[in-house]
Point group: C2
Chain length 386, copies 2
C-alpha cells in the first residue's frame, strides 16, 4: 500500500440552480478546475460519484460520458453510487486504486444536476436513497425521516429546538465567507425558528437545499506529489466505509449512526489518530439534526450532547473544533453526488492554508464524513498536511 | 499485488420475467448461491453492479440495501454503474480490492429488475446508456444504433443478413443446454429471418431480451482459495477497462470497438496471453452484430471477417473457440447490470469442468468481455484454472 496525496482540488464556479448548464458541463468545469490546481493535463483512470442522474436527467453511463467530454478516452472511467455518500465512496475507490499501485494519477469527481425537475420529482428521486418499498411508498420523505430522528434525540437527551437552529446559523455564518456557496449569507436564530415548518420539529432552514454542483480532486502517490507540486502535500491518513440498515425503522436506536461510528473507528485506527487530533471537520449536515448525531458518532461530542456543540460555539470558526467551514450542506448546498468530494476539496484548502477568510489557523489534520440516506452508508477520511 | 481467485459463483435460480420477485430478492438469491458455492458465510466488502434501478424501480443506494438484506451490515458495500457493463466494472473493482490487499473476501454481484415497467419505459431507461441529449432525444434507440453498426459492417465488409442470424442460432443452441436461461430453446435461421423487423437489418431474434436476473461471485487471494476450497482454483490473470465516446456518431469508424480493443490489449498483456491461448469466451452479444464486431476487437476474428465465425461453426461448442456457451445475452437473457458478473460465473463453471452438457472439454483459459451502450465502456477479464 502506497501513501496517497491530493494533488489538486476544485469545484465548479458556483453552486446553485444552474439552469444554463447540463450535468456534463458542471462536471467538466469542476474536473478542469482540479486538473488546473494539480498542474497536470492527463490522468490514468477516473471515478464519478453521482446518486441518481437517471431519475434527475435520464442519463446513466456517466463514466463514459464524462471521460468523453473531458477528452480523456480511452481512460477507464467508473461511476459509483451510494445515495448521498456517492462522492465519498467514489473518493475511497480512487484512493484504493492509487494506494494499490494499479494507477498513479486518478481523477475523482462528484456531480448532481437536481433542478431540471420539479420539487415533487426531486423529492421522489431523493426518496430512492431510502427503502423505497418500506419507507417512501408508505409516504415518508427525508425531512420526515430526519424529523423522527430529531424528535427521538429531543426525547432521549433533552436536545432543544434552539440547539438545532444553532447548527444552521453557524453553518450559514461560515458559508457567507464561501463565494461558491449557494446561499452565502448569514441567518439568525429567529430566521430559523420562524421559517416554514416542513416536518415537525424541522423547519425549512433546518434543511439543506436542492443544488446543482460538482467537485473533483486528483490523487497520486505522496512521493509523486512531492516531486511535481509546489503546494503543501495533503496525505490521506485513513479511509473507511461502513453500511447500516437502509430503513430507519430497522435500527435499534434512531439516534445512533452505526455506520458512521464504525467507519470513524476504522479510519481513526488506520490513521493512528483520534477525535482530539483533528483541527477541522467537514461532515454531512443534510439536516441540522444530522450534524448533531454525526458529531456524537465521530466522538467529537459526548453521546446525547451533540446539541450543545453549535450552541456553545465549539464547532464554529475560532472554536475548539471548527465544523463545516465551507458552509456545509446547509449553506454551500447539497448536490448529493458531489458533496463527499466537495468535503475533501474544503479540507485540502484548509490543510494547505488556502481557505482565505474561513481559514482555521494552523490546521494540520482534518476529517470528512459523508453519509447516504439516514446513514445506510457512511464513509470517513482523515487527512494530514505533511 | 496479490493473485486473485474466484472462490464461488452463482446465479439466481431462473432468469426471465420474475414478477413475483423484487430487485432485492433476486440479488439475494444469487449472492446466497455464490456464498454457498464458495463455502463461506461472511465477507469483508461487497460491490453491486446495476445500471439503472433508479429508472426501472425507483431505488438507489443499492450497496446499503443489499448488504442489509443479506444480513451483512456493517460491511462496506458499493454500487457501481457503467450501463450494460456495470457487472464487469463491479467485478474489476472487487478484483482490485483483493489484489491490493485491502480486503480478503469480497462479494461482487450484479442485478437488474427490468420488467416492472412497460416496454416504452424500458426502452427509455436503456437509452440512458447512450448519449441522452444527442442520441436518444433525437429519436434513436439501441436497436437503431446497432442497426447502423450492422449496415456499416455489411457495406464495408460484405457481411450478410444470414451471418447475423447465425449468431442468434448458435447462441440459442448453447442456451438450450442452460436451465437458468430465459429462452432455453433452439431457433432456426428461418426463424430469425422471418421474425419481426425491429430496425433494419435487425429483427427481433437479433436482439437480446428484457430480463430480470442476478449473478454473484466471491473473490479471495489465490493462496486462501487453495486452503479453504476443494474445487479447482480459477485465477484472474488479466483485468482491464477502457472508455470510448458515449455517442456512436463521434467515432471515426462505426464498426470498430476502440474501448474493447484497448481493454483486450491491456488484459492480454497483463495475463501474458493472446487470443490463441483462449479455449472459451463469454462476450457481449446484446445484438447479433455486437458479437461479430467484438470478435474482431478481441482479435478472435480478422477485421471484417467476424461474420464468418458463427456461420463456419468456429464459435460453436466443438468449434475452434466456443463463444457464449451460456447462451449469451441472446438466449440466457440480459439483465443489464448482472450480465458482466454472469459471464464470469459461466467461465468459472467452464474452467472448473462444471458446465455439464455445454462443457468445453479441457478448457483452461477463458475470457469475458462486457460493454456499455454501443461500446462507450468495455471491460475484459482473462481467467485460468491453476
Amino acid at each position: 500500500m502506497r501513501d496517497v496525496a491530493i494533488l489538486g482540488a476544485g469545484l465548479n464556479k458556483k453552486w446553485g440552480e444552474l439552469w444554463s448548464m447540463s450535468l456534463r458541463d458542471i462536471f467538466v468545469e469542476a474536473a478542469l478546475s482540479a486538473l488546473d490546481d494539480a498542474g497536470v493535463d492527463h490522468f490514468d483512470s477516473m471515478y464519478v460519484g453521482c446518486m441518481t442522474s437517471g431519475m434527475f436527467v435520464a442519463q446513466e453511463h456517466l463514466g463514459s460520458l464524462m471521460a468523453d467530454y473531458l477528452g480523456m478516452n480511452p481512460v477507464p472511467a467508473t461511476r459509483v453510487e451510494s445515495a448521498c455518500s456517492s462522492g465519498g465512496v467514489a473518493f475511497r475507490q480512487g484512493f484504493m486504486e492509487v494506494a494499490s499501485g494499479i494507477n498513479d494519477l486518478v481523477l475523482v469527481g462528484g456531480v448532481e444536476k437536481m433542478t431540471d425537475v420539479g420539487g415533487d420529482e426531486a423529492t421522489h428521486a431523493l426518496s430512492a436513497a431510502a427503502d423505497m418499498e418500506y419507507e417512501a411508498y408508505e409516504g415518508i420523505t427525508f425531512p420526515g425521516l430526519y424529523a423522527l430522528i430529531a424528535r427521538a434525540h429531543m426525547h432521549q437527551f433533552g436536545t432543544t429546538r434552539e440547539q438545532l437552529a444553532h447548527v444552521a446559523v453557524k453553518n450559514h455564518k461560515h458559508g457567507a465567507m464561501n463565494p461558491v456557496a449557494q446561499y452565502p449569507f448569514e441567518i439568525t436564530l429567529e430566521d430559523v425558528l420562524g421559517s416554514v415548518l416542513v416536518a415537525d420539529p424541522l423547519h425549512i432552514l433546518d434543511c439543506s437545499p436542492i443544488t446543482d454542483g460538482a467537485a473533483a480532486v486528483v490523487l497520486c502517490p505522496v512521493e509523486m506529489a512531492r516531486k511535481i507540486s509546489k503546494k503543501p502535500v495533503v496525505k490521506v491518513l485513513g479511509s473507511a466505509q461502513a453500511s447500516s440498515t437502509i430503513a430507519l425503522h430497522s435500527r435499534k436506536d434512531l439516534t445512533w449512526l452505526e455506520s458512521t461510528a464504525k467507519a470513524a473507528s476504522d479510519a481513526y485506527k488506520m490513521a493512528g489518530k483520534g477525535p482530539r487530533d483533528l483541527q477541522v471537520v467537514e461532515l454531512h449536515d443534510c439536516f441540522t439534526i444530522a450534524e448533531i448525531i454525526v458529531l456524537e458518532a465521530l466522538g467529537l461530542a459526548e453521546r446525547g450532547k451533540g446539541g450543545q456543540a453549535a450552541e456553545s460555539g465549539m464547532t464554529a470558526l475560532g472554536g475548539k473544533i471548527p465544523v463545516n467551514t465551507s458552509g456545509g450542506l446547509k449553506s454551500k448546498g447539497h448536490p448529493v453526488g458531489a458533496t463527499g468530494v466537495a468535503q475533501v476539496v474544503e479540507i485540502t484548502k484548509q490543510l494547505r492554508g488556502e481557505a482565505g477568510a474561513r481559514q482555521v489557523k494552523g490546521a494540520r489534520v482534518g476529517l470528512t464524513q459523508n453519509m447516504g440516506g439516514t446513514g445506510g452508508s457512511s464513509v470517513v477520511h482523515i487527512f494530514e498536511a505533511v
